[in-house]
Amino acid sequence: MPKMIRFGVLLSCVLLGSLAHAAGGGKKGLKVNSELFDIGIIAGSINIEDFPSQFEPLLGVNITFKASEYFFLQYNFIQTEIGVSSVEANDAIAGFGLEDRDFTHYDLLVGYNIFQGEFFSSDGQANLSNLYVVGGFGDTEMGGESNFTYTIGAGYLIEFARKYLVRIDYRDYIFDSSLLVSEGEETIHNTQFSIGIGYLF
């Protein structure tokens, strides 16, 4: 894949150039420790339509950028394996079986903090918290298909220590799949519940 290599080289140049610039103190002014990003991992369960709920490890990573007091941008990547659908489990319908049982999804979301608040874990202890909604789009790869996916969701986060946070999230991945229909496509909803931790930097 020479074009991928070319693209990789190009991207590396930009990243290296930008790092060199950052290291050289490209921006004038006083240096203040910024907390604009957080990076996190999640674990949870996903319910893929027409397939059984997945309590097998659903694992994911995310990176969030705080764009303003209210808005943030988030990149997510999750991976799991899909179970045996009722169609496959039914012996009467022979000859149907998915070879590719990996479910991978990534998306780009914009989030809005609806209720910023504080979580009172004990006397004299207040942790910053946030209830937010997210929406965006991405790619879901399942059973040999690759589908344009809309993501909507809501979540709650608590900054339980100065640099660490906990997130509880609900997500719905919506896309058109032709995997289990004989003709055309059906719109399927895949709901996910997850808990994650993040590190602010």
Binding site: L11, S18, V110
Partner: protein, 265 residues
């Protein structure tokens, strides 16, 4: 290798690429962040007073007020807010506007990040994403989304590299591009821009429903759009982009609309 196998390999590479890109970004950002740690910044407030909130949002209650002439230590920064420590040890959050008029121990005005106005976009990194749909030509009704990262050399001039994914019925593909943006009036809240770019499309599958029967093709683009500054470093942008794709020694023209978000840091 059968067709499906080839498809899987292609997929895998694309996925790997995205994963690598994300890992690269994360490492880069970690380096930038670690670079940001420095000696504590102590400033003197020269405005009449500054309110201190319990959190970085306008809804958090005010629990302390810094008086004129009081020295404060800047602990950290979030969009529109600074975390400060007052002389008596109280820690809280003030808006960037509230402490924009502060002076350093030396008596010089403090040049705090995200306080200065004017050419503040110049020399920033830009990252963002967009979604859209092809409206004309063989790729009509293909959905597309892209993620991009770039640099703003001047207030009116920027460049980025873009990775995207295209989805049609029964087919999908990858898109790679490099673009240059000219935005002559970046200080306007609603500001028009012009984009020029070049890149490559490669399809994972050979769709039989459509005439776009190529594995990969190079293209040039030009586009017209507008940015709307929702916040100091957060932009929503809309664009109409024309693709000239070289297929079999002929140039085909496709149009696409795009809607997305960009952010500067």
């Amino acid at each position: 290798m059968n067709k499906r196998g080839v498809k899987q390999v292609l997929r895998f590479s694309a996925q790997q690429l995205v994963t690598r890109w994300l890992v690269g970004c994360v490492c880069g950002l970690a380096l930038i962040a670690s670079n940001a740690y420095a000696a504590p910044v102590v400033l003197e407030v020269i405005d009449a007073y500054a309110e201190v909130h319990s959190g970085p949002g306008r809804g958090y209650p005010v629990f302390y007020v810094i008086e004129q002439g009081e020295k404060i230590e800047i602990l950290s920064r979030r969009p529109d807010w600074y975390e400060i420590r007052a002389k008596n040890g109280k820690v809280g959050w003030t808006t960037t506007a509230a402490i924009s008029r502060t002076i350093q121990k030396t008596g010089e005005p403090a040049d705090l990040p995200s306080v200065g106005y004017g050419d503040y976009i110049k020399g920033s990194f830009v990252t963002g994403f967009s979604t859209g749909q092809f409206l004309e030509g063989d790729l009509e009704e293909f959905d597309v989304f892209t993620v991009s990262g770039g640099y703003r050399f001047l207030a009116w001039l920027g460049a980025d590299v873009e990775y995207g994914r295209l989805f049609g019925s029964g087919s999908a593909g990858d898109l790679y591009a490099a673009n240059v943006f000219v935005e002559p009036a970046a200080h306007w809240k609603l500001s028009p821009f012009l984009s020029l770019g070049t890149g490559e499309i490669s399809m994972d599958t050979q769709p039989d429903q459509i005439n776009f029967d190529v594995e990969s093709a190079t293209f040039n683009t030009y586009g017209l759009g507008a940015s709307y500054y929702l916040g100091r470093n957060f932009v929503i942008k809309g664009e109409y982009r024309w693709y000239s794709i070289d297929v079999d020694d002929e140039t085909e023209r496709f149009g696409t609309w795009k809607l997305g978000f960009n952010t500067f840091f």
